[in-house]
Symmetry: C2
Subunit: 99 residues, 2 copies
Amino acid sequence: MLEGRWKLIILFHLFGGNVMRFSDLERAIPAVSQKMLIQQLRQMENDGIVRRIVHHQVPPKVEYRLTEWGQALCPALDALLSWAALREEMTASGTSSDI
Amino acid sequence: MLEGRWKLIILFHLFGGNVMRFSDLERAIPAVSQKMLIQQLRQMENDGIVRRIVHHQVPPKVEYRLTEWGQALCPALDALLSWAALREEMTASGTSSDI
DNA sequence: CAGGATCCATGCTGATACTG
DNA sequence: CAGTATCAGCATGGATCCTG
């Protein structure tokens, strides 16, 4: 469901009702390849977390946003983030958040 | 941190302060191989999520439990579970929880 | 009982090139 | 712009056998 290196990173960019185009996400996450980006977006689309909106134009325009259910994930991920942050209080190890 | 197929499953068995022996975990999670079980336990030990307690006996006895920080993960995972459960209310798709 | 060691299959990942 | 196709590399996962 949420496995895959990029899912969470993508979600963080989509939270708060953010609507992003494919190229927006590419720019926001420079480390990801197009293949991985589209792959993980498609998976989340199938899982009902992300909604894909195609605007039939030239040039093409495709937007991604969270579904209602996807938005509901927000508090859970916040809890995970604060858990990860809690570690730094206890150990002061400088590695940033990989959940 | 929490990647790997078995981490969450292991954690669920350890929550609530549960103390389990290696063989207990093997029995509780029949699908996991010994190699995977020990590997993921070791990783979580290194990450400070799980504590490993060796009793020097014959036969050997090794117990696993959560660290303080590991216990702190509980509410976050609960949030994830209720999120997953929310799906069934909305879609009624019978697939059980894979997060 | 609680692992360690080894070998092997799979799959995820990424770089690159191409398309409607 | 928003993808698709292809190929290669490495990590992950698993089965089996062995040990203190």
